[in-house]
Symmetry: C2
Subunit: 317 residues, 2 copies
Amino acid sequence: MTIALDAMGCDNGVSAVVRGAADAQKVFPFFRPVFFGHEDELKPELEKYGFSEFVHASTVITPDEPPTLAFRRKKDSSIVMGLKYVKEGNASGFVSAGSTGALLTGATVIIGRKPGIERPALGTIIPAKKGFVLLMDCGANMDCKPSYLAQFAQMGAEYMQKCMNIDSPRIGLINVGTEEEKGNAAAKEAHLLLKESGLNFRGNTEGREILSGEIDVAVCDGFTGNILLKHTEGFAKIMMGLIKEELMSSTISKIGAMLAKSSFGRIKKRFDYREIGGAPFLGLNQIVIKAHGSSDALAIKNAIRQCIEFSKDSSYN
Amino acid sequence: MTIALDAMGCDNGVSAVVRGAADAQKVFPFFRPVFFGHEDELKPELEKYGFSEFVHASTVITPDEPPTLAFRRKKDSSIVMGLKYVKEGNASGFVSAGSTGALLTGATVIIGRKPGIERPALGTIIPAKKGFVLLMDCGANMDCKPSYLAQFAQMGAEYMQKCMNIDSPRIGLINVGTEEEKGNAAAKEAHLLLKESGLNFRGNTEGREILSGEIDVAVCDGFTGNILLKHTEGFAKIMMGLIKEELMSSTISKIGAMLAKSSFGRIKKRFDYREIGGAPFLGLNQIVIKAHGSSDALAIKNAIRQCIEFSKDSSYN
């Protein structure tokens, strides 16, 4: 199985991507990576792991460039070239840690939307009290029509069914109250659409219930979703930091922390985004996985794993 | 100092409110509570603590009633009667754990907005990495015009200056990226208004930076704010639960947890909403504090403390 990898645009450089691919190949020997990036940077890294297949891309789209403009101007960038390679049927999917905006614009234009989908969206798997929740949209669409939200639910249900083996994924509409008439204008109308959708719609989900394990797909606009997701990341870090600080504040608690070290390790692992992989762009004709910008080799490996698992599903490719 | 207290609408009943008032009076002997609620429920509780002043309110507005309708119909409810009492100058402020919607509608109509404020908003103080952040709006306004957001910033800055003694409160606009052109339509325009506002505007604040301690007021629409706030509450609970579960999983870690018990106690206290008090409704001519629906006596006591501290400020009353 061939997967196109964007070797550029990762904060940890080309080496993290190449090493992640090598680690993925140990688990999935049938996986064949094709790297997209500048040959001067790529070649020495590829040699280290015995890889040889790459496509030279002379430029990179950076996250601070306006995505639409960058996409139009930088035809020779790793994102544009990689997406075209996938579109032409040379690979099963594309994994990139580069600019989210450019990746979304590029994927929508080059790879195209699935029939009936107005806007592709970015889904992120997050650990819940029990199991996982797919939060979407996580930042692809800022101002959302109610129909977009209903389609996010549909795309999310399909993903959770096919990639996480959940029979009838439970859908929650993120909202400020459980009552049908609660919320902003888009959420109120989306509630009505979801009720009629034939999906396993569980109604509105309040903020405190998102991770309760009662739903499999949490639907919201990309503005709310992006803020929620990043806040969760930031808050987890702050809490773990405070706990560490408190535990180091006395000798007794230091000993306590030492004895409980493996427990903390497991918690940390559970909330480690690197273990989960990337975020799938859903609603496209082919598979595009957005890896975290600050991915290391472990995160890249898991984003590739996700792409492989998603590729196995027959409704794609 | 007289403060009107809604004795109804608290999940923990009249007794939590009366006991909270008694505890507050121990700290603030000048505090004189006037309770609003049904006399049959109130009288026996008041007798326990030697309180006597109350106003009989024969009905209660429940959180599942449409606020505007309930406010119009239930003139004899504890919320409506309490707000009128404050409006008539009989008390310095009103504290209620009842329906947020009814409280907001009632306060806006009865007490009235400050000049130049289009929409009052609900602010909530949350603990950050260092210090505290005032998050607003936390649920009063769902679809917000850019001008509302700019006014939230102004109201929030005033509150943090006067009640938290912060000289020049740092304002962050919650958004999906730090760049000026990021966000939904309202956030983009609000950014421009805030740049011109004369406030200490620090630009856009991404989700992961909300609690970093770099800002004092985090501005967003009430839809996003409510979801963020409740999610934070839910996530903290889930994390503490997971940590507890992990620590109880082996004898060694159990001993570790026992030794580190006081550290965990301090963390728990730091994230305990009951220690913080209620959420002020800002932008009104008088002081209205919304206490958490599931407040116990400690939470009520701290909501009263907040009302007292806010009342001391000369720009109100």
